[in-house]
Symmetry: C2
Subunit: 147 residues, 2 copies
Protein backbone atom coordinates (compact mmCIF):
# COMPACT_ATOMS: atom_id res chain seq x y z
CA UNK A 1 0.00 0.00 0.00
CA UNK A 2 1.47 3.34 -1.10
CA UNK A 3 1.06 6.65 0.67
CA UNK A 4 1.10 10.05 -1.07
CA UNK A 5 3.02 12.95 0.44
CA UNK A 6 2.47 15.76 -2.08
CA UNK A 7 5.26 17.83 -3.62
CA UNK A 8 8.33 17.07 -1.52
CA UNK A 9 12.01 17.41 -2.35
CA UNK A 10 12.83 13.87 -1.27
CA UNK A 11 15.43 11.83 -3.15
CA UNK A 12 17.04 9.44 -0.70
CA UNK A 13 19.78 8.72 0.09
CA UNK A 14 20.99 12.32 -0.13
CA UNK A 15 24.62 13.23 0.42
CA UNK A 16 25.27 16.20 2.75
CA UNK A 17 27.18 18.62 0.54
CA UNK A 18 29.41 21.24 2.21
CA UNK A 19 30.45 23.86 -0.34
CA UNK A 20 33.66 25.79 0.44
CA UNK A 21 35.37 28.70 -1.30
CA UNK A 22 37.87 31.50 -0.60
CA UNK A 23 36.87 35.13 -0.28
CA UNK A 24 38.92 37.87 -1.96
CA UNK A 25 41.33 37.92 1.02
CA UNK A 26 41.96 34.20 0.77
CA UNK A 27 39.85 33.38 3.86
CA UNK A 28 37.94 30.10 3.61
CA UNK A 29 34.22 29.93 4.28
CA UNK A 30 31.69 27.18 3.66
CA UNK A 31 27.99 26.31 3.75
CA UNK A 32 25.72 23.29 3.78
CA UNK A 33 23.91 22.81 0.45
CA UNK A 34 20.93 20.51 0.71
CA UNK A 35 20.36 20.12 -3.01
CA UNK A 36 22.69 19.10 -5.77
CA UNK A 37 24.07 16.19 -7.70
CA UNK A 38 26.22 15.03 -10.56
CA UNK A 39 25.12 17.09 -13.57
CA UNK A 40 27.00 15.76 -16.57
CA UNK A 41 30.23 13.94 -17.33
CA UNK A 42 32.69 15.48 -14.84
CA UNK A 43 30.29 18.19 -13.71
CA UNK A 44 28.42 18.80 -10.47
CA UNK A 45 25.59 21.20 -9.65
CA UNK A 46 24.72 22.72 -6.30
CA UNK A 47 21.68 24.87 -5.57
CA UNK A 48 22.97 27.90 -3.68
CA UNK A 49 21.10 31.16 -3.83
CA UNK A 50 22.54 34.62 -4.48
CA UNK A 51 22.53 35.91 -0.90
CA UNK A 52 25.09 33.46 0.48
CA UNK A 53 28.62 34.56 1.26
CA UNK A 54 29.83 31.35 -0.40
CA UNK A 55 28.00 32.25 -3.63
CA UNK A 56 29.80 35.60 -3.69
CA UNK A 57 33.12 33.88 -2.93
CA UNK A 58 32.64 31.38 -5.78
CA UNK A 59 31.85 34.18 -8.21
CA UNK A 60 35.06 35.96 -7.18
CA UNK A 61 37.43 32.98 -6.89
CA UNK A 62 35.90 30.93 -9.78
CA UNK A 63 36.40 27.72 -7.81
CA UNK A 64 34.94 25.68 -4.95
CA UNK A 65 35.07 22.33 -3.25
CA UNK A 66 32.14 20.10 -2.34
CA UNK A 67 32.86 17.99 0.73
CA UNK A 68 30.67 15.11 1.73
CA UNK A 69 29.96 15.29 5.44
CA UNK A 70 30.00 12.11 7.50
CA UNK A 71 28.00 11.08 10.55
CA UNK A 72 30.92 11.88 12.86
CA UNK A 73 30.65 15.57 11.94
CA UNK A 74 26.89 16.06 12.05
CA UNK A 75 27.21 19.00 14.49
CA UNK A 76 29.74 20.82 12.30
CA UNK A 77 27.69 20.14 9.15
CA UNK A 78 24.56 21.43 10.83
CA UNK A 79 26.30 24.56 12.18
CA UNK A 80 27.51 25.66 8.74
CA UNK A 81 23.99 25.22 7.40
CA UNK A 82 22.35 27.32 10.11
CA UNK A 83 24.85 30.17 10.64
CA UNK A 84 25.59 32.61 7.81
CA UNK A 85 29.12 33.71 6.93
CA UNK A 86 27.63 37.14 6.22
CA UNK A 87 26.91 37.71 9.92
CA UNK A 88 29.59 35.50 11.53
CA UNK A 89 33.12 36.28 10.30
CA UNK A 90 34.57 33.49 12.46
CA UNK A 91 32.21 30.87 11.06
CA UNK A 92 34.90 28.31 10.19
CA UNK A 93 36.64 28.59 13.56
CA UNK A 94 33.38 28.41 15.48
CA UNK A 95 32.38 25.39 13.41
CA UNK A 96 35.65 23.72 14.36
CA UNK A 97 36.62 23.24 10.73
CA UNK A 98 40.09 23.65 9.21
CA UNK A 99 41.10 23.76 5.56
CA UNK A 100 44.02 23.25 3.23
CA UNK A 101 44.28 24.69 -0.26
CA UNK A 102 43.39 22.26 -3.05
CA UNK A 103 46.38 21.20 -5.14
CA UNK A 104 44.22 21.57 -8.25
CA UNK A 105 41.91 24.57 -7.92
CA UNK A 106 41.81 27.89 -6.05
CA UNK A 107 39.54 26.56 -3.30
CA UNK A 108 39.85 25.24 0.24
CA UNK A 109 39.44 21.55 1.07
CA UNK A 110 38.00 20.90 4.53
CA UNK A 111 40.26 18.56 6.49
CA UNK A 112 37.57 17.17 8.78
CA UNK A 113 35.38 15.67 6.04
CA UNK A 114 36.70 12.46 4.46
CA UNK A 115 35.89 13.19 0.80
CA UNK A 116 35.93 16.30 -1.39
CA UNK A 117 35.11 17.10 -5.00
CA UNK A 118 37.36 19.94 -6.21
CA UNK A 119 35.84 22.13 -8.91
CA UNK A 120 36.37 25.05 -11.24
CA UNK A 121 33.29 27.25 -11.64
CA UNK A 122 31.81 26.67 -15.08
CA UNK A 123 28.81 28.97 -14.67
CA UNK A 124 25.64 29.77 -12.86
CA UNK A 125 23.15 28.40 -15.38
CA UNK A 126 19.87 29.86 -16.67
CA UNK A 127 18.12 28.77 -13.44
CA UNK A 128 20.81 30.26 -11.18
CA UNK A 129 22.25 26.85 -10.29
CA UNK A 130 26.00 26.66 -9.70
CA UNK A 131 27.72 24.29 -12.16
CA UNK A 132 31.30 23.17 -11.53
CA UNK A 133 33.77 21.22 -13.59
CA UNK A 134 35.17 18.42 -11.41
CA UNK A 135 38.96 18.63 -11.57
CA UNK A 136 39.79 16.18 -8.77
CA UNK A 137 38.21 13.98 -6.14
CA UNK A 138 40.19 13.37 -2.97
CA UNK A 139 39.40 10.99 -0.18
CA UNK A 140 40.97 10.21 3.15
CA UNK A 141 42.49 6.76 3.56
CA UNK A 142 40.12 6.17 6.48
CA UNK A 143 37.21 5.78 4.01
CA UNK A 144 39.13 3.77 1.40
CA UNK A 145 39.19 -0.01 1.21
CA UNK A 146 42.22 -2.01 0.16
CA UNK A 147 40.99 -2.00 -3.46
CA UNK B 1 46.38 11.14 4.49
CA UNK B 2 44.29 12.02 1.42
CA UNK B 3 44.48 10.32 -1.94
CA UNK B 4 43.70 12.05 -5.25
CA UNK B 5 41.62 10.28 -7.89
CA UNK B 6 41.39 12.86 -10.69
CA UNK B 7 38.14 13.99 -12.31
CA UNK B 8 35.53 11.46 -11.16
CA UNK B 9 31.75 11.76 -10.95
CA UNK B 10 31.64 10.55 -7.36
CA UNK B 11 29.13 12.05 -4.93
CA UNK B 12 28.25 9.38 -2.39
CA UNK B 13 25.77 8.21 -1.30
CA UNK B 14 24.03 8.25 -4.69
CA UNK B 15 20.42 7.18 -5.08
CA UNK B 16 19.70 4.78 -7.95
CA UNK B 17 17.15 6.70 -10.05
CA UNK B 18 14.85 4.73 -12.35
CA UNK B 19 13.08 7.10 -14.75
CA UNK B 20 9.77 5.86 -16.21
CA UNK B 21 7.42 7.34 -18.82
CA UNK B 22 4.68 6.29 -21.24
CA UNK B 23 5.19 6.11 -24.99
CA UNK B 24 2.56 7.50 -27.37
CA UNK B 25 0.60 4.20 -27.16
CA UNK B 26 0.49 4.35 -23.37
CA UNK B 27 3.10 1.61 -22.92
CA UNK B 28 5.41 2.13 -19.95
CA UNK B 29 9.17 1.99 -20.31
CA UNK B 30 11.97 2.95 -17.93
CA UNK B 31 15.72 3.40 -17.61
CA UNK B 32 18.38 3.69 -14.95
CA UNK B 33 19.74 7.25 -14.65
CA UNK B 34 23.04 7.42 -12.82
CA UNK B 35 23.12 11.19 -12.43
CA UNK B 36 20.57 13.59 -11.03
CA UNK B 37 19.37 15.31 -7.90
CA UNK B 38 17.02 17.83 -6.38
CA UNK B 39 17.37 20.96 -8.52
CA UNK B 40 15.30 23.66 -6.88
CA UNK B 41 12.30 23.94 -4.60
CA UNK B 42 10.03 21.14 -5.83
CA UNK B 43 12.14 20.36 -8.88
CA UNK B 44 14.34 17.43 -9.81
CA UNK B 45 16.89 17.02 -12.60
CA UNK B 46 18.00 13.84 -14.32
CA UNK B 47 20.78 13.55 -16.88
CA UNK B 48 19.35 11.49 -19.74
CA UNK B 49 20.70 11.90 -23.24
CA UNK B 50 18.70 12.33 -26.43
CA UNK B 51 19.03 8.79 -27.79
CA UNK B 52 17.07 7.06 -25.01
CA UNK B 53 13.57 5.78 -25.62
CA UNK B 54 12.61 7.25 -22.23
CA UNK B 55 13.80 10.71 -23.33
CA UNK B 56 11.54 10.51 -26.39
CA UNK B 57 8.66 9.27 -24.23
CA UNK B 58 9.08 12.15 -21.76
CA UNK B 59 9.11 14.70 -24.59
CA UNK B 60 5.86 13.21 -25.92
CA UNK B 61 4.00 12.58 -22.65
CA UNK B 62 5.38 15.65 -20.77
CA UNK B 63 5.63 13.64 -17.56
CA UNK B 64 7.77 11.02 -15.83
CA UNK B 65 8.36 9.32 -12.52
CA UNK B 66 11.68 8.83 -10.75
CA UNK B 67 11.71 5.69 -8.63
CA UNK B 68 14.41 5.01 -6.11
CA UNK B 69 15.61 1.44 -6.46
CA UNK B 70 16.33 -0.60 -3.36
CA UNK B 71 18.88 -3.33 -2.68
CA UNK B 72 16.22 -6.03 -3.10
CA UNK B 73 15.83 -5.08 -6.78
CA UNK B 74 19.44 -4.65 -7.79
CA UNK B 75 19.06 -7.11 -10.70
CA UNK B 76 16.02 -5.31 -12.12
CA UNK B 77 17.67 -1.89 -11.66
CA UNK B 78 20.79 -3.11 -13.43
CA UNK B 79 18.82 -4.70 -16.30
CA UNK B 80 16.99 -1.47 -17.14
CA UNK B 81 20.33 0.36 -17.17
CA UNK B 82 22.01 -2.07 -19.55
CA UNK B 83 19.22 -2.98 -22.01
CA UNK B 84 17.75 -0.27 -24.26
CA UNK B 85 14.01 0.09 -24.83
CA UNK B 86 14.87 1.02 -28.42
CA UNK B 87 16.01 -2.53 -29.16
CA UNK B 88 13.94 -4.54 -26.63
CA UNK B 89 10.19 -3.80 -26.88
CA UNK B 90 9.48 -6.16 -23.96
CA UNK B 91 11.96 -4.43 -21.66
CA UNK B 92 9.57 -3.95 -18.74
CA UNK B 93 8.31 -7.54 -18.84
CA UNK B 94 11.81 -8.97 -19.17
CA UNK B 95 12.92 -6.78 -16.27
CA UNK B 96 10.09 -8.21 -14.18
CA UNK B 97 8.70 -4.74 -13.49
CA UNK B 98 5.03 -3.75 -13.37
CA UNK B 99 3.50 -0.27 -13.26
CA UNK B 100 0.38 1.60 -12.28
CA UNK B 101 -0.57 5.04 -13.61
CA UNK B 102 0.26 7.91 -11.27
CA UNK B 103 -2.81 9.56 -9.74
CA UNK B 104 -1.20 12.95 -10.35
CA UNK B 105 0.67 12.95 -13.65
CA UNK B 106 0.57 11.12 -16.99
CA UNK B 107 3.36 8.72 -16.06
CA UNK B 108 3.75 5.17 -14.80
CA UNK B 109 4.81 4.41 -11.22
CA UNK B 110 6.82 1.18 -10.86
CA UNK B 111 5.21 -1.09 -8.27
CA UNK B 112 8.37 -2.95 -7.31
CA UNK B 113 10.34 0.08 -6.08
CA UNK B 114 9.30 1.46 -2.67
CA UNK B 115 9.46 5.19 -3.43
CA UNK B 116 8.65 7.34 -6.46
CA UNK B 117 8.83 11.04 -7.30
CA UNK B 118 6.04 11.91 -9.76
CA UNK B 119 6.83 14.81 -12.10
CA UNK B 120 5.56 17.03 -14.87
CA UNK B 121 8.20 17.87 -17.46
CA UNK B 122 9.23 21.49 -17.02
CA UNK B 123 11.90 21.54 -19.73
CA UNK B 124 15.15 20.19 -21.01
CA UNK B 125 17.43 23.05 -19.96
CA UNK B 126 20.26 24.79 -21.84
CA UNK B 127 22.58 21.85 -21.09
CA UNK B 128 20.06 19.23 -22.21
CA UNK B 129 19.27 18.14 -18.65
CA UNK B 130 15.69 17.01 -17.95
CA UNK B 131 14.00 19.20 -15.31
CA UNK B 132 10.75 18.05 -13.71
CA UNK B 133 8.31 19.73 -11.38
CA UNK B 134 7.67 17.37 -8.47
CA UNK B 135 3.90 16.97 -8.12
CA UNK B 136 3.84 14.09 -5.65
CA UNK B 137 6.08 11.71 -3.74
CA UNK B 138 4.67 8.29 -2.94
CA UNK B 139 6.19 5.63 -0.73
CA UNK B 140 5.24 2.11 0.18
CA UNK B 141 4.30 1.48 3.80
CA UNK B 142 7.12 -1.06 3.98
CA UNK B 143 9.67 1.79 4.01
CA UNK B 144 7.72 4.11 6.33
CA UNK B 145 8.17 4.28 10.09
CA UNK B 146 5.33 4.89 12.51
CA UNK B 147 6.00 8.66 12.39
Amino acid sequence: MRKNFGAKTWAYPMPVFIVAAYDKNGEACCMNAAWGGIYEENQIMVCISQGHKTTKNILESKAFSVSIADAKHIVEADYVGVVSGNSEPDKMKKAGLTTVKSEFVNAPVINEFPMAIECKLLKFNEDGICIGEIVNVSADESVLGAD
